[in-house]
């Protein structure tokens, strides 16, 4: 590792101080709370209690994994198309991705609540044709949909970024050498866009697995880890169990990111996290 110059050290100091204060210190506090009881004495009770939350963890992972995979399947072709378009078309496509993000996540989710409700927009519309109302709100489908809707831009953008970096001449060369569309996709585009996919995967999976607002508004009684943590902190005032739950969530996310890094191999292009 190269030794940093004095100037670099001085420029970096505020950032280091910031991270220490607002990242490292809070993490230490979380760990402290997770292993202590209300009186501050060391205990493993919080960690032992996590067993009761096994199911909550399982469905959180399941829903966010499904949401992430669907995001990927939808985003990949979209990002490819967007990267191959030019001028106004590309700008409009980008606009369509970004536009919903101008609104706050809370408002977007709240609006979906009205759309998916028993007596919401969709069911009212179906009612015009005499179709029985569908049960959407309060189902796992609604929660997964909420995750997809809210986080899909985080999948599209990194994939788009790496794809637009792929030189057209590389693709032309592949064609010259006799690649058909499928092998072009498999042997050129897919490997070259992998860093974007991995970064998109992480950026969708992480917020999905820790969300609580989406499940609260769209999920009825469905409880995810985020909800469990939020309940412990906000209404049950059990900071210790809340911290233990958060700790497990963080470890899970770290493992997931490490796995992703492994997939990514050496190439770090387009990796945001």
């Amino acid at each position: 590792m190269k030794k940093k110059s004095l100037a670099q050290q001085i420029l970096g100091a505020p950032y280091i101080l910031w991270s220490a204060l607002f990242v490292i210190v809070p993490l230490v506090i979380v760990v402290y709370y997770a292993f202590t009881d209300a009186e501050g004495a060391f205990t493993l009770a919080n960690v032992a209690k996590l067993r009761e939350y096994k199911e909550v963890f399982m469905i959180s992972i399941e829903y966010s994994f499904i949401a992430t995979v669907i995001c990927l399947l939808v985003s990949y072709p979209f990002a490819y198309l967007m990267s191959r378009k030019k001028g106004a078309t590309q700008r409009i496509m980008m606009m369509l991705v970004m536009l919903p993000m101008w609104m706050n996540l809370l408002i977007r989710t709240y609006s979906w609540m009205n759309i998916l409700e028993k007596n919401g927009l969709i069911n009212n519309f179906l009612g015009l044709f005499g179709i029985e109302p569908l049960k959407m709100i309060g189902t796992p489908g609604a929660v997964i949909f909420g995750m997809i809707y809210n986080y899909i831009p985080y999948m599209i953008l990194p994939i788009y970024t790496v794809m637009s970096k792929i030189d057209v001449s590389v693709l032309e060369a592949a064609e010259d050498l006799g690649s058909n569309s499928f092998s072009k996709l498999r042997r050129i585009i897919l490997p070259m866009s992998m860093p974007g996919v991995i970064s998109g995967f992480t950026m969708v999976f992480v917020p999905s697995v820790s969300t609580f607002y989406i499940s609260q508004k769209l999920g009825g009684k469905i409880m995810l880890i985020g909800d469990a943590i939020e309940k412990q902190i906000q209404s049950l005032y059990n900071y210790n169990l809340g911290a233990a739950l958060s700790l497990v969530l963080m470890v899970m996310i770290l493992i997931c990111m490490a796995l992703m890094k492994k997939f990514a191999g050496d190439s770090n292009d387009g990796l945001i996290m």
């Binding site: 409700e117 028993k118 007596n119 508004k217 009825g220 009684k221 309940k231 049950l236 005032y237 059990n238």
Partner: protein, 369 residues
Amino acid sequence: MKKTFCALFAVCLMMTAGMTSCGEKNITLENPSGTYSQEYAGTTLNVFNWGEYISDGSEGSFDTNAAFEALTGIKVNYMNFESNEAMYAKLKSGAVSYDIVIPSDYMIERLIKEDMVQKLDFSKIDNYKYIDDEYRDLYFDPTNEYSVPYSVGMVGLIYNTTMVEGTPDSWGIMWDAKYADNILTFNNPRDAFAIAQFLLGIDINSTDHAAWDAAAAKLKEQNAVLQARVMDEVFNKMEGENAAIAPYYAGDYLTMADNNPDLAFVYPKEGTNIFVDSLCIPKNAQNYEAALMYINFMLEPEVALANAEYICYASPNTAVIENTEYELYGNEILYPAEDAKPKTQYYHDIDVETRSYYEKLWEDILLDD
């Protein structure tokens, strides 16, 4: 494009107008009944109140804090909290010093017990004379030394007459399988437990574990028919007919009924929870004298009227209750006649041990789902 925008804007306006149909007058304080000086002009008063719990000038309503500032030159630094417990945590941490807090009964009981609020100098609160006798000598402040009532509410059962048969009069309907997936309940342990406790005839302030166990068993039974546990989402769900039955506060029912006339309200026969939110001055207040002035100001007939009309909860202020121009004058839900009064019980501050016991039960109920 411009036309679409205009249309959208109009829709938005209509929606907001619908949401706050209660209290839309602009008033400037004309005949203050108390005396206000500029003695503390230039100082700052930190006020900590529930969200949406003061007439704030929106929709052309009276702007309470601006009027106080104009009258006294004191700058009001107004902050919101979401729950008594959140307020308590902030106050306890001492990170910010508040001059006025407006918590509910049981929390005031705790604050007095823990010596976190101070006695008020009632010689400087002339307008206390307007407080109805019914809201004096309350259990949490039996000698009226620490608190001045601001707003009063009761929990009742809201139901949609097109979705529910007959006229329910019992909390029992919240367990009725006929309305499965159309029933909502509170998303906080104390209020959710209280319903089961009233139904089972158990004291809501019980410290007996067996009594809490019984209520918890009852709540677990309810899981099968519940659609969701909600707080503010209840407005959307009930107004939009996405659920048929929900317990909520009487004042909020009035707002909902404005938007959906099919909604009806009843105080169940088993009894219900009543709460009083009162103005208090914390021990570490920095601006005690200005705080007293603010309390007196809040009791001004005109100010109290504006706030009562804005919040739509019942007022403990006789100048409001007896004012025939009050939009909700004689409203039988907020001010039920003597013979129609429901059985009510206040929450009391529950000891830590019982609290953590029922919180654990609540967690089990949620995980059982």
